[in-house]
Symmetry: C2
Subunit: 646 residues, 2 copies
């Protein structure tokens, strides 16, 4: 309450209501060692109700983490403080996940718990044997994402996942009765969870509930009956304590009620040392773990996998194969071909799909399913849960030791978008295999045809959006995604695409984001920039124009973000900064044109689709939208005339 008061902003209610439950968890159950926050076999704790960040900061401080200091806490919510408004995993160790967008902490914890069981199956109890704890509020449990996460966890029987529900019966608008009549316990039980309730204001009761939930073959929900803002007389139990400072008067009264006579930001020595002692509980366990690791035959492999480096030794042989075979395949199929090699070369990958396995081509030969009976498998049927899959993948990546990839249709990145944003914000290596990436998917029509999605994803900071043009580019983009320290979206075609890259190159050309895939034969008057399935159309259009005596470069731009990061001289070589009266720049992408002015300039030509799609066979849809070699050549010639380019 003091930190929120000092910041004049924040959420005191949840930390006060859940303080006793958190005390039980952190002093008696959670396995951790503040001196090594990255210890791989630590228990994971996720504060899904991220607005209660001060609870977590207090716990980290009290148990003896290097950060936050009391100074940091005094600067809660100020520019540069590691104690941000919501917990940010990149601000300091001990924050396992960035939370705040409700429901996602719980859903990421499901991913962490999957990673734990998977690595346990591979390395045994000696090296991997920990639990995942979550504190979730009513918000978390109303969001749709929680349904997907709860369903997945129940299905996979993640017994080492324990969720403490802060049941304070209050939301921002008032009583939970304003918007919910659900029997939450019955709902979790319906998904195969163990459920138990306790007085959340009684640390002993919470302790017993955690004990009772331990060692089970099902995940557990502990309903902690609490009072929001507990300890602040007059105010506790009201929505007013949720997201506003209590105010000086209420704080004085709360000090009296709670018997707390220290001034703000001062912790009495006896209390601090009791907490620090609790923080040292894990030291012995960690030392023992290190002894077991040293003695283990799997030590090297385990550490390698934990470190997360992804080999790219599969890439060159695959490209050699592809340039010689010149296959005309969909890039989703090319992705499968890459995955066959990747999954063989990198044992850390864990694949999956939100129930579009045969469409996304994400399951490679010989991959076992990861199920409740076989946690050692490497492929997850996530069900029709795009958001749940994405959030679980964030959790898998945050846990470490695994590299998650998962598929759905590109249009359904919308369903997963809040989790994709958290992939980007947390800078975790999650690879989204998003097939059916344009009107080229054909008959399924407007609801399934992405239009605005590519540009919307490119607008998101910290995310690499790849749209490869053929099988070689697909392999290159896979290598870049695996090598990145951030998330990637691979936008892949349903329809077959011609082989454009037919000779082996020394470099990964896609690493530059864009490159000249066809140089003008005649004096260059036009540069066509295209992505993915439109590159072969652009090349065909260019050939028509060359036939008319017009020199045309074609630039394949599989990743705008990487191109934007190149130095001036490279960018200038590919897209010279000259007037559109000298060289006409043209973009071709079967999607929204907003943003393409960045590459074409205002007087360039942007060929794309600024309306919703149509239900029709792919070729008809392309014809309808004028994205064909003939139409493009025609429009380019017309624009050259208008712009008086000779």
């Amino acid at each position: 309450m003091d930190a929120v008061e000092a910041a004049n902003s924040g959420h005191p209610g949840m930390p006060m209501g859940m303080a006793d439950a958190a005390t039980a968890l952190f002093t008696r159950h959670l396995k951790f060692d503040p001196s090594d926050p990255h210890w791989p076999d630590r228990d994971r704790f996720v504060l899904s109700a991220g607005h209660g960040s001060m609870l977590l900061y207090a716990l980290l401080y009290l148990t003896g983490y290097e950060q936050p200091t009391i100074k940091d806490i005094e600067n809660f919510r100020q520019l540069g403080s590691v104690c941000a408004g919501h917990p940010e995993n990149f601000e300091m160790p001990g924050i396992e996940a960035t939370t705040g967008p409700l429901g996602q902490g719980l859903a990421m914890a499901v991913g962490m718990a999957i990673a734990e069981r998977h690595l346990n199956a591979r390395y045994g109890n000696d090296l991997v044997d920990h639990r995942t704890f979550v504190v979730a509020g009513d918000g978390c449990l109303m969001e749709g994402i929680n349904h997907e996460a709860v369903g997945l966890a129940g299905h996979l029987k993640l017994g080492r996942l324990i969720v403490l529900w802060d049941d304070n019966r209050i939301t921002i608008d008032g009583s939970t009765e304003l918007s919910r009549n659900e029997d939450v316990m019955a709902r979790f039980a319906a998904s195969g969870w163990h459920t138990i309730e306790c007085d959340g204001l009684d640390a002993d009761a919470v302790n017993r509930a955690i004990e009772e939930s331990s060692g089970r073959a099902r995940p557990s929900l502990i309903r902690c009956k609490t009072i929001i803002g507990y300890g602040a007389p007059d105010k506790q139990g009201t929505a007013g304590t949720h997201g506003s400072p209590l105010g000086a008067d209420a704080i004085v009264k709360a000090r009296t009620t709670l018997g707390w006579d220290s001034p703000p930001f001062q912790i009495p020595d006896d209390i601090r040392s009791a907490w620090r002692k609790a923080g040292e509980r894990g030291r012995v366990a960690r030392a023992e773990w290190h002894r077991r690791l040293e003695a283990s035959d799997s030590k090297g492999e385990f550490l390698g996998q934990t470190e997360g480096k992804a080999s790219d030794k599969w890439l060159k042989p695959l490209i050699a194969e592809l340039v010689s075979s010149k296959l005309k395949v969909a890039t989703r199929k090319a992705s499968e071909m890459a995955l066959e090699k990747i999954n063989a070369a990198i044992s850390a990958t864990i694949g999956g799909s939100a129930d579009l396995t045969p469409s996304n081509n994400t399951l490679t030969k010989g991959m076992e399913l990861l199920t409740a009976d076989n946690y050692g498998g490497r492929y997850i049927h996530y069900g029709i849960r795009e958001f749940g899959m994405a959030a679980a993948m964030n959790g898998l990546a945050l846990h470490g030791g695994v590299i998650p990839y998962g598929g759905t249709f590109l249009v359904f990145t919308d369903y997963a978008r809040p989790a994709i944003r958290l992939s980007a914000l947390q800078q975790v290596r999650v690879i989204y295999v998003m097939t059916h990436d344009s009107i080229g998917l054909g008959e399924d029509g407007p609801t399934h045809q992405p239009i605005e999605h590519l540009q919307s994803l490119r607008a998101m900071p910290g995310l690499l959006t790849f749209r490869p043009a053929d099988a070689v580019e697909t392999a290159e983009c896979w290598a870049l995604a695996l090598g990145a320290n951030k998330p990637s979206v691979l936008a892949l075609s349903r329809q077959n695409l011609s082989a454009l890259r037919t000779k082996a190159e020394k470099e990964n050309l896609c690493a530059r984001g864009a490159y000249r895939i066809k140089a003008a034969a005649k004096a260059r008057k036009v540069i066509i920039i295209a992505t993915g399935s439109e590159v072969e159309i652009a090349v065909a259009a260019a050939e028509k124009l060359e036939g008319q005596g017009i020199g045309v470069d074609v630039v394949s731009m599989p990743c705008t973000e990487l191109f934007d990061a190149q130095d001036d001289s490279y960018r200038d070589d590919i897209l010279p900064d000259v007037s559109n009266r000298e060289i006409l720049r043209v973009s071709v992408e079967a999607g929204a044109t907003i943003g393409w002015e960045r590459y074409t300039g205002l007087h360039g030509l942007r060929i794309g689709i600024d309306r919703f799609g149509v239900s029709a066979p792919a070729a008809d849809a392309y014809e309808f939208f004028g994205i064909t070699p003939d139409k493009i050549a025609e429009r380019v010639a017309e624009q050259m005339k208008q712009r008086k380019i000779k």
Copy 2:
């Protein structure tokens, strides 16, 4: 199966498995009249499992709708056919909602059922007394959105909502056991639903289940046990029948099994006339309804409300008030001020918030809550269910007679994005009141600060994104949103903004999308284009530059979509098409800069934020990102020097 075969694309499995259940519903329960598909008191039917579109097309044809014709069905999934791959509400009457993105049909149906109860409360049983039926598949019931919709429907005790669950135990990846262990019936019961199961292949059994579910005070889930692809021997019951044509052989066998000896697209006369007779069941009811309407005192009001015209007589007096009071208020507060007038003037509005009522300022004085005990209320506590709220609003708007608006934070448009897309695709008037629209929200930090959201929303076809700069613009934008035949997002500030529009204008200036809010005093060398909270910053920067002898226009651009739709001469007047060496164009928006090249040209200056935000007080965050009058003036002067503008 014949239509899918002809298209060589589509989903035969669901229509074949649910044909009997649909027959029971359409021939014995659904109240409709094909001769007047817009009859306001018809029952609503939503095919939430939209991939089974052929089932709906068949039903519409058989029961005697004008469309589709047999020809249309023969052209299933072809360019220009009203029989699109997924049902599109804009293709033909009888399709109540565009479905395909799973779970959303069910969630829209919840909105329709709310609208029905609300209008019933206002107009009585004589005029409004109908039901809402849904066919949902396992996909619909795994998506997170269904949890939100089910929770909302249970809470609001929508007894007139009946969901038929096509329980065929198959998804695309195979058995539902691959990804789900949930007891679905228990889960619905936990949310206060009535549940019942029946043999979905027995029309009489389905009939009895619907009868048993009717007249209850709770929504009903009818579990129809079915077989996917029923009737196709060898193939039925497998994922193979879900999304692919059966193939010629299997079709021959299915004809034998089903005893169907007509060739494709030929319906025997006796069968067609039996169906047509079923289609005429509603004729008498509709005639009686019209008699009641004619006799009703509320006729005019009812028809007016159904027509949906929104008065703007509230606008001028409000603007007069605002230009004289010159209040410095947050635009979220200005929105509340507008809503006070709107809700008084337009009785069709139904407001709400996804549990951010006190932040979104969406509840105006005297508004009663719409609850299970008071359907006549006009404000809905949607709970922490952004997606559920948005989808329900789509349903409210599709039902007609009401104008829904609802709030959350702009960053959480991500959670609702799939439904916003369906608002846009269906062109329904849903108004999204999205507050806390930038880093200006301050301390809550990166998880809560929108960066890419404005541009991502602008990239979506068919959606108006408004970002007003002060109270007057907010009122104008509200008027435009209410007058639009499409959805709108209002992006509103948390922080207070100065009054910029301080005199009354004849026209709604925001209707042009952008306009000159400050004309250069000295010779114009710079045009600064800004939106929302950045307009006053731009004006202050302009004044600094004018002080240095540089003439600066400031353009407020509350809606890029509307500006893009203006004629050349208007656009040229605001943003003359001259080189950035003559006039420097500068954009200022506290968000992603991608796309702003459309207005600044390549050599203009784009001031924005291309990374995630920071947790800090708003003023510190603006300072950190250099979005202040001083920094902007400095960067403009520097760029002018570089571009040699004198």
